[in-house]
Structures are given as structure tokens and as C-alpha cells.
Amino acid sequence: MNIFYKINNLSFRAQKYVFFLFIVVFSIGVVEALVLSPADYKQSDSVRIMYVHVPSAWTSVGIFSVIAILSLGNLIFKNKYFLTIAKSLAPSGLIFNIIALVTGAIWGRPTWGTWWAWDARITSMLVLCIFYILYILSWRVFENKESVNKITSVISILGLINLPIIKFSVEWWTTLHQPASITLSGSSIHSSMLLPLFIMTAAFVLFSVLIFLMKYNTELIKIKNKGLDRI
């Protein structure tokens, strides 16, 4: 497939540009989040945790959706690049999931008076974390190529069922976690807080792109290393 050759050739060159772009956007985002954005009238300065918690949760869920779609694509089209891309996306997805869980716990302490609650939203995010760990471990544990392709695809497709639960858990059940403040119909967050939130989200997406490129290049060199043995 021609598009994959283009990705292969672009991935090596794009890495350094994405790195510099991430540094710039992340620096602006951090200054906006910690200094320029206002404190909340109810939560005071603890609201600033939102600028790392929410983008990491969004990115983590988004990455897993892509992994599941690519795995589904692999089962249908039998293309190895789908799985290589999916495998390269997983490490940043897991890290963002862990950041969302840890910063959520830190935010929960001053807001709810507890570090952890077996609330539907928090528990479903923990389940997503388990799916990420199982997915990454499967790549390391199973050596047979056919088995690992099937197992990782099944894990990611099963994990896909959890994503609507994460999204709608705050509406389906009475939860400690607040409902979504940003929906397709609008936002209840003031623009002075929305701007740093979007800048930080852009920075987190750039970081996941950077990690994806580095991991994808590693996988590509690994494949080509095997190719050198056959030449």
C-alpha cells in the first residue's frame, strides 16, 4: 500500500519537527494553565489540575479508539502496518491513562475529600488501564506472530466496549465524578479556561504523536534489521 510507504518515509523526518512543536505548545500551555488562567470561584486554584487531567483522559481514550479501529482493520484487510501503527500508539495511551488516574486522585482529595472512589467513571478508566497493560504485555509475552496478532486484536476490540461506558457512565449512573462540561452542543466552561485546556490538549496530542513516531521508527528499524539478515 502506497500510503504506508509514505508514512514510513515521513516518520523519520517528522520526528524532530514534532518535538520542537511540542516544546513550544507545551510551554505556552503550562504558562496559561499555571499563571494566566483564572482560579475557579468554587474550586479555587485546584481547578488547574483540570489542565493535565482532562487532556490526558481525552488523549488516552482517543488513542485506544484508534488502536481498536486499526486492530479491526487488520482483521478485515490483513495488513501488518495496521498492527505496527497500533502497537506504536499503545505506550503513550497507557501513560496518558495513568496520568488521568493519578491526577484525578490528586484532584479528588481537595474536591471530594477522598483519593479514590469506586465510581463508574473512575472504575471504567481503571478498566481501560488494564486493557492497555494486557495489550502491551501481549506484544512482549507471545512470540508467535499469528497468535500475537489475534490476541492483541481481540484485546483491543473487547476494550472498545468499555469506551462508551467511560463516556456515558456519568449519565447512566449516579457518580461522584461530574458530568461532561464540554459537549457537542456547547461548553459550560468560560473561554478564559477553555483556551488553556485546548492548548494543553494540543500539546498532549503532539506528545503522543512524537512518541508514536519514535516507537514506529523503532519498529520499522527492527523489521529492516531482520531484512538485512536475509539480504
Binding site: 510507504y5 482560579a39 486554584d45 489540575i49 493535565v52 503513550s92 512518541i211 519514535m214 523503532t218 538485512l228
Partner: protein, 77 residues
Amino acid sequence: MTFEIISMNGYGLYVWSSFIFTFISFFVLYHVIKFQLKKEQEKFKSKYFDLTEEKTENVKKQKTYREILAFTNISKI
């Protein structure tokens, strides 16, 4: 001003620990992935230099290999 940023109206411990945890996670993940990439590049380098001249020419004809060679700075050696 500085004290206000550090104390965050009494929420400094929570806010700063969240941001520091995020920074550390980014730093660790970036360096772990970079280490894995360097390791594969080194493997590629040693295998490439073990090839015969004829095989090296064959490798250079393929676009993805050319990109890897440029990326690992072999083409500059």
C-alpha cells in the same frame, strides 16, 4: 506573586504534584522510547557495516533503507 504561584491559595501541593507527575511521566516515557530506538539503530549500524560492498549497494537502492541510513547518520560517515 511568586508565593501566590507556589501556594495556589492552599492548593499548591495538589496542583504542583499533578503537574510534576505529568512532567516526570513525559520525561521517563520519552527517554525509555529513545533508548529503545537508539538500541535498534546501533543494531542496524553493526549489521550494515558487516555487509559486503555488493549488498550495501542493494540496500542503498531501497527508499526505506535510505531513510534509515540518513536517520542513523550512516550516510554522513
